[in-house]
Amino acid sequence: MNWYNTLIKDDRWKMYVNGIEETIIISLGAIAFGILLGVIVALIKYVNKKYDRFKIGAKVCDLYLTVFRGTPVYVQLLIMYLVVLVAFPTRTTAIVTFGINSGAYVAEIIRGGLESVDDGQLEAGASLGLTRTQVMLFIILPQGFRRALPALFNEFIALIKETSIVGTIGVVDITKVAERIIARTYEPFTPYLVTAIIYLVIVIVLTQLLKLLEKKLAKGDKNG
């Protein structure tokens, strides 16, 4: 173990700070993008099932889910970097790739949440004269989303760790920083240990935050 060479010499700890920043930006960007995409896909599939509408939209969504859940995110990243998003900065490529990939999982998680809401809620909303959009927005989505939260958190935690492959396309995240330091010191253990500890701390902090959020939202989460 050589802490001096890993962190202190040539101010290498600063590389880690930049790496953390990169990992967090990519993760947050991908999570936001994934939620947006996931909610839209989940709603289309839910509305298709309950009201028999958006037939073509639902087919497109199914195709999206099949492709992006059926291929490795590593391969998706390479294809995006080398073919689809060649002209974009690598950070953008990473955010978009992980966002689209995560969106597929988020979609299925949220759809599960929406479908777990009792049909009586749809009927009660309709019987009051609310439009379908209003019923979705104010009755089904809040309840379904809340029920999907624990599984969603799981997905976010997995996503943060998956971003450790972005070094492949030249983004310098926490993992890539370790590789660069090793290239100088020829000593792999300490840099990777530091990287692992950083991931662990991020995930622990996030878990605690999400627990708080879940508790805050838990009010009235029983059948009416």
Binding site: A124, S127, G129, G224
Partner: protein
């Protein structure tokens, strides 16, 4: 407003099929303003389905429904279709005449369907519904449960809606529960809130789908009391129920349904003391 001779809701020859199962086999019913109609009958006879067809939560497969003299559902072409099927010779004059009539009717009815699809929410605003399973919104407080629809549908401002909700809650004795979540309430309290929620939309008619069937026996009384008061105030009501006492004392008319049709319809006294239909006699001998 509708006068007494013009029914609030008029149902004609209503049919409903679920797949191959025919649940309603031609129901005719007129609901006048101020009527309190109790619908009774054995399980699976179609009483709940009839009720749910009235506000189109269930789309009927045939017949027509008029709300305040405007069609909210019309499909009479299915009768012609059946007639056409019965004619073996597809080139006979009779068949062709029927076919022309059918196409004409189809055009008219499709047009009604199209308009209704756009206005269905407005129809439903006039019809309040109370469910067996309450169906309160668990993620909202009692007050928000009641004010959600009036505010979102811009019937009134937030302040007006809340004032009205509080007045209604006061009336059913639950003003202190305004900020509680539904999961903390008893069944009877939930159902009273559900009634208030429907009333907040100021409907012309209230539908009750077995409102006391999911309640503890102790709590049935408090819900029936609210319904009785509502009836006394002149609210038009259609109540699917197994509470014979309520039917006898509060209803202005009682309907007995069996096998997807209305078997008997009468004033309460006559209905219970002098039933004519055989199936009704059998039913009453079991429940009374």
């Amino acid at each position: 407003m509708a006068n007494t001779t013009q029914p609030l809701i008029s149902v004609k020859n209503l049919h409903k099929k679920f797949g191959t199962l025919e649940v309603l086999k031609g129901v005719d019913l007129d609901v006048q303003a101020g009527d309190v109609i109790a619908v009774i009958g054995p399980s699976g006879c179609g009483k709940s389905t009839l009720l749910r067809c009235l506000n189109l939560l269930e789309m009927p497969t045939g017949g027509s429904i008029l709300l305040e003299d405007a069609f909210v559902f019309k499909n009479e072409r299915f009768i012609l279709k059946a007639k056409m099927k019965a004619i073996p010779d597809k080139k006979s004059e009779e068949y062709l005449a029927l076919k022309t009539e059918y196409e004409c009717l189809k055009k008219e009815e499709k047009l009604i369907e199209k308009t209704v699809n756009k206005t269905i929410n407005i129809h439903r605003q006039k019809i309040g519904m109370v469910f067996q399973q309450f169906n309160l919104f668990p993620h909202l407080t009692v007050l928000n449960n009641i004010t959600l629809a009036p505010i979102k549908l811009k019937k009134c401002t937030k302040e007006e809606a809340e004032a009205k909700a509080m007045a209604l809650l006061e009336k059913v004795g639950l003003a202190d529960k305004a900020n509680a979540y539904p999961s903390t309430l008893s069944g009877g309290q939930k159902q009273r809130i559900a009634i208030v929620r429907a009333l907040a939309m100021e409907p012309d008619i209230m539908l009750f789908d077995e409102p006391t069937s999911a309640l503890d026996p102790e709590m049935v009384g408090e819900v029936l009391k609210v319904m009785t008061e509502l009836a006394k105030e002149g609210m038009t009501m259609v109540v699917v129920t197994h509470e014979m006492g309520f039917a006898k004392e509060v209803a202005s008319r009682i309907i007995f349904m069996s096998d997807g049709v209305i078997k008997e319809e009468n004033a309460p006294k006559e209905f219970f003391e002098n039933p004519k239909d055989e199936r009704l006699k059998e039913f009453l001998s079991k429940v009374l």
